[in-house]
Symmetry: C2
């Protein structure tokens, strides 16, 4: 693939995993090509939007022929670095942290939860074969286990402190479940999972 732009908008990057998932679904149905129209229908967006998103990465198909699904999947997975596994840790072993550790969706996509940390000594037993260690051992374990992503499931009030510590440990990717918007350095990528923000956006449409 040629002509990949630098500085691709984050909003475009954020849509690529959905394309990957949808193309995987089509592949399971034994389809080999897909038009931007059909992809748009499946993702409830316009064909023009899809063509524009792909145009950031060079050419993925020829006008009128549709996209080759295998080729497109391969390119998108490479762009997103999905063809490797990533070691992750969970910080916060309460109910939410336990649900995250037990969630089956991470491992099959290559995100391996290698260890969990908690401040409370009461929670220091294994959860689903994942060892829970004291947060004071975080730096050591992150380096030894080659952990690249921290999943933050502590209460809001503790989240910024935990995130600062993760950054000090050299973590470059943070998935934050705490309902707050953390301050992070420019060279660290952070995605916030916040169900209340989603509900609040949704409420806009509920009273029409």
């Amino acid at each position: 693939m040629n002509d990949i732009e630098h500085d691709i908008p984050e909003i475009v990057i954020n849509r690529l995993p959905l394309y990957v998932r949808t193309l995987n679904d089509l592949k399971l149905l034994n389809q080999t090509t897909v038009s931007s129209e059909h992809l748009g229908f499946l993702l409830q967006t316009t064909p023009a939007q899809i063509r524009k998103d792909f145009s950031h990465f060079g050419k993925f198909g020829k006008q009128g022929r549709g996209y080759n699904i295998d080729f497109l999947l391969d390119e998108l997975r490479n762009i997103l670095n999905l063809n490797k596994t990533w070691n992750t840790c969970v910080i916060g072993a309460g109910k939410l942290g336990q649900a995250v550790i037990n969630y089956q969706g991470f491992k099959k996509e290559g995100y391996l939860i290698k260890v969990a940390f908690d401040i409370s000594t009461k929670k220091l037993s294994n959860i689903n074969d994942v060892e829970v260690r004291s947060i004071s051992e975080m730096n050591q374990y992150i380096k030894e286990l080659n952990i690249k992503i921290g999943i933050v499931t502590v209460p809001s009030a503790d989240a910024q402190g935990v995130i600062d510590r993760l950054v000090q440990c050299g973590i470059k990717g943070i998935l934050n479940y705490a309902p707050m918007k953390p301050m992070i350095p420019n060279n660290v990528s952070c995605m916030n999972i916040d169900p209340v923000l989603s509900l609040q956006s949704m409420s806009y449409y509920l009273d029409k």
Copy 2:
């Protein structure tokens, strides 16, 4: 407020709750006004983006004077319908459903979990004072309890079926935790919470 546009882009709507949260934080610090520059700094976006977002809703402030925080909060909360409470239900009483029901963030923002449903008869005991009923009673309870939002915490394979049933029951807002993109009618609003999609977007930045 005058001149509110119709068909405001969803991406703009999705940012409004973050503005509300940040303005609330400033209010707690006894601030009464804020510039688009400072708001941009706090939200890690450009002042121009913030002014453009607000321009969809008419005028929120005068050039050079900054925004009045109380006024802005009031307008944004009205736009998003946040000045009322919404009754919700959770479908799926497994580990994830239990974490959602126990999560303290919903209630204080006006999203009340009134009842939960599960297909398994083994889970039909209360969780944190929320009654768990059989999914066969969903239609009746949704109407009786005036439930407007369904929170879907069932496994992926069951999610589309559950969402179809919620739509048949008249639900207009769905918060979906299952890692799939559901098909929904145009008059229903659905937000998907999918940690894997967030991790996959993040992976793009991890190998730079």
